[in-house]
């Protein structure tokens, strides 16, 4: 047991190292990508592990099953003059291949259950962000940060470049736009969700019109955003970077055009950003009030 866990720890450390060394290059969809990426959080790495366990179990069983089948097809052919056997059952064998899969399934369910319990634990978060899905954009409200309420609240939509190119018959080249060095067509927004690194963020997720689903693969989960229901999820991003995702539940004509971008920044930088946003929000509010206020005076 101890050895297994140390192996796992080593593997996790290696994964984290690979992630750091490669920056966030492999957190977002890449051309010719074959497998799930380990992602940017300890949860997403454990999701990746559970996925890999399941994958290798399937590959192993596949080799045995398909191997037996190929052997049978080569060996037991009429053209080789085989006389067909007459056996029709074998109780021992049938018991064996009923029991062994049960054991294999328990072995797969065990780590999955532990992980699921941890993923469901949204307690002790340091900040709360409310996500609301609309046709076809996301609203992010920074509800509180270390128990301090904030007023920061904005809409995040598909970036203008992607929007121009994606119009039917635009004739523009989707490969032509880049965000940094990432070919960001349909995976970029005007205003990303900014989160601090190393902080447990609780998301409360809902929708205003139809069902959406908030999915950033690098965080390791997706969560449906449903009108009238508030779901919660959490994340703690380990590595600063830009993580991209999309709405994952069919939500109408522009379902394919409501991306998600999460920008994870060091804590200090985040606090600075939050303060700027706060003052901008306050200024905007003041301006709005100033515009509204004179009206009663002129009427009076």
């Amino acid at each position: 047991m101890a050895m297994i866990s140390s192996v796992r720890r080593a593997r996790r450390a290696f994964a984290a190292f690979a992630l750091l060394a490669g920056g966030t290059a492999f957190a977002n969809p890449q051309p010719w990508q074959l497998n799930m990426a380990p992602g940017a959080t300890s949860i997403s790495q454990r999701v990746h592990e559970v996925h890999m366990i399941a994958l290798w179990v399937c590959v192993g069983i596949g080799i045995i099953v398909f191997g037996a089948m190929i052997y049978a097809m080569v060996k037991f052919r009429k053209s080789k003059g085989v006389v067909p056997a007459k056996f029709t059952h074998n109780s021992t064998l049938e018991a064996v291949w009923t029991v062994i899969p049960i054991i294999v399934l328990i072995a797969m369910a065990w780590p999955a259950t532990k992980l699921l319990v941890d993923m469901a634990d949204v307690d002790n978060s340091d900040m709360t962000i409310k996500i609301t899905g609309y046709q076809w954009k996301w609203r992010y409200e920074y509800v509180d940060y270390y128990k301090k309420p904030t007023a920061v609240n904005f809409i995040s939509t598909l970036d203008a470049d992607s929007n121009r190119i994606r119009q039917p018959g635009s004739g523009l080249d989707p490969k032509s736009i880049k965000d940094g060095d990432y070919a960001s067509y349909l995976l970029n927004v005007d205003k990303p969700l900014v989160v601090p690194v190393g902080v447990k963020v609780r998301f409360v997720i809902t929708a205003d019109d139809v069902i959406h689903s908030w999915w950033v693969p690098a965080l390791g989960w997706k969560q449906d955003a449903i009108p009238g229901i508030i779901n919660d999820q959490w994340t703690r991003v380990d590595v600063p970077g830009i993580y991209r995702g999309q709405c994952a539940e069919l939500c109408g004509k522009d379902h394919g055009f409501m991306p998600i971008v999460v920008k994870a920044v060091p804590k200090a930088e985040f606090e600075q950003w939050l303060a700027t946003q706060e003052s901008e929000t306050a200024a905007a509010k003041a301006a709005a009030t100033a515009q509204v206020a004179p009206q009663p005076a002129t009427q009076g």
Partner: protein, 541 residues
């Protein structure tokens, strides 16, 4: 009536007594074989209509950027493709096969309720006329996916009423078909055809029919609530009116998961007929096969929420549905192991039906593997609604259900038509299909794991390469099916090679004791079962 005289009837059994006029023969038919043919022709037609929609989808997804259509039309195509393929192609194909083969396999003269049989078929063309006509209506056809989740589905226009009514009709047709099959199997077996001597195909249909009766009314209820929400001011699924959009998903998938097995259990039955025939060896573990089908059917009622793991269920719910779903792997594993054990020690030949059956076992198992992966909730938080799921269900439905239907078509076509099909062209069809279908669907696993959601008309350039490969596979697979039609037309109308009564050397069972083509009326007097006639003579196995 004079026709009621059994003696006269028997003497003339070899003369066909087919009604002469076209309408008399097909519109007013009560003959299980003709109705079976109608179902199969209808199914093939729908397969091509649904396939055309799939071609349009793959054409738009050929490269990034919107080239061919508006996103609304794309959504219409994905929604309609699924509805047409599920309710128009796969289900009617199995009902057609059941109609043709169940009476022949149990030694019954016809279905128990022949006139209802006529009605349950003839509802279908009208149901699909209603459904397909919505494409040409203002606002277009349904765009909210085949699952019709509210509130999105309620944003549709007139198509909501049309498609819901069409679904009601399909449900009525399915329920009548299921009642007929149950009544036939339970009441009309030849003397000596005990339940545990029936072919596995008959067993699979008996169990499937019970599933149909159990869940089609649930679907009807769900869509009726949609209808009243849309047109009569109720709030079953309106959050603003105190309703719950998630409740729809629970009700829908309580229908939807058994529905998945309605589309695969008869396929299990078909494969369990074909593999023993071409292995020249009785099926391994007959009783285990029957019990496995029954267990899968039972489990299908307690796993529905695995379609909605990301909906936000309580931890206990997620765990229950994960464990229950994983359990399905056990009876399914038994089936796969038994098929391989049937081949083991046999004397195999590889005619087209056997090739499709072997491809079914391999590729359905791959679909089963991705199914087990999807059962694991934390991993499914990533897979859900991604192309990984698209790959998964196309492996079980196309290389599963559809391949089994094709295998059965090649297997029984000589019995139906009286001619042998072209083995060369059958094999060309097989190899072309089996390669292209993997080019089509295997890369979709990669796309999903890399983060591509399903039901999107356009995508990031990182997904471009595999989408292009998948589209090429799609066009190739679509074109390959024209060979299938060619082989069928050739076999029915032009083939010179007469089929024998036995057709296949290793075939056992009552359907292989009647001449090829099967006369219009068979088993007007019940057959006398002789040793060696049935595939599963010995009940102790």
């Amino acid at each position: 009536m004079a026709a009621a005289n059994p003696a006269i009837h028997d003497v003339h059994d070899d003369h066909d007594h087919k009604p002469q006029g076209f309408l008399d023969r097909w519109l007013f038919t009560t003959n299980h074989k003709d109705i079976g043919t109608l179902y199969l022709v209808f199914s093939l037609t729908m397969f091509f209509i649904g396939g055309t929609m799939a071609m349009l989808i793959r054409a738009e997804l050929f490269k990034p950027g919107m080239q061919l259509m508006q996103p609304e039309f794309f959504n219409e195509m994905t929604s309609m493709h699924a509805l047409v393929m599920i309710f128009g192609a796969v289900m009617p194909a199995f009902v057609g096969l059941g109609n043709w083969m169940i009476p022949l396999q149990i030694g019954a003269p016809d279905m128990a309720l022949p006139r209802m049989n006529n009605w349950s078929f003839w509802i279908l063309p009208f149901a699909f006329l209603l459904l397909l006509s919505t494409i040409f209506m203002p606002g277009g056809g349904p765009q909210g996916g085949w699952t019709m989740y509210p509130p999105l589905a309620l944003q549709g226009g007139v198509n909501v009423a049309f498609s819901i009514f069409a679904i009601h009709l399909m449900g009525i047709s399915s329920i009548m078909g299921a009642i007929n099959i149950i009544a036939t199997i339970l009441n009309m077996r030849a003397p000596g055809m005990d339940l545990l001597k029936m072919p596995v195909f008959v067993w699979s249909w008996l169990i499937t029919a019970f599933l149909l009766i159990a869940v089609m009314p649930v679907l009807a209820g769900a869509v009726t609530m949609l209808l009243t929400d849309k047109f009569f001011g109720t709030s079953f699924f309106h959050a603003a009116g105190g309703g719950d959009p998630v409740m729809y998903q629970h009700i829908f998938w309580f229908f939807g998961h058994p529905e998945v097995y309605i589309m695969i259990l008869p396929a299990f039955g078909i494969i369990s007929e074909i593999i023993p025939t071409f292995s020249r060896k009785p099926i391994f573990g007959y009783q285990a096969m029957v019990y496995a089908i029954a267990s899968i059917a039972f489990l299908s009622f307690i796993v529905w929420a695995h379609h909605m793991f990301s909906v936000g269920m309580p931890l206990g719910g997620e765990l229950f549905f994960m464990y229950a779903t994983m359990l399905i792997a056990i009876p399914t594993g038994v089936k796969v192991f038994n098929w391989i054990s049937t081949m083991w020690g046999g004397a195999m030949t590889f005619e087209t039906p056997m090739l499709f059956a072997i491809a079914f076992v391999v590729l359905f198992t791959i679909g089963g593997f991705s199914g087990v992966m999807c059962a694991i909730v934390p991993a499914d938080f990533q897979y859900q609604d991604s192309y990984f799921v698209v790959a998964h269900f196309h492996y079980v439905l196309v290389t599963g259900a559809v391949f089994a239907i094709m295998a059965s078509a090649y297997y029984w076509l000589p019995k139906w038509s009286g001619h042998m099909y072209s083995e060369t062209w059958g094999k060309i069809h097989f190899w072309s299909s089996v390669i292209s279908v993997n080019v089509l669907f295997f890369p979709q696993h990669f796309l999903g794991l890399a983060g591509m959601p399903r039901r999107i008309p356009d995508y990031n350039v990182a997904f471009a390469d595999f989408n292009m490969i998948s589209s090429i596979g799609g066009f190739w697979f679509g074109a390959s099916q024209l060979i299938f039609v060619g082989v069928i037309i050739h076999c029915v109308y032009f083939s010179k090679q007469k089929a024998t009564t036995q057709v296949w050397e290793g075939a056992r069972g009552l359907e292989w004791t009647v001449p090829s083509p099967a006369p219009h009326h068979t088993f007007s007097t019940p057959p006398v079962l002789k040793p060696g006639m049935l595939a599963h003579d010995d009940v102790s196995h």
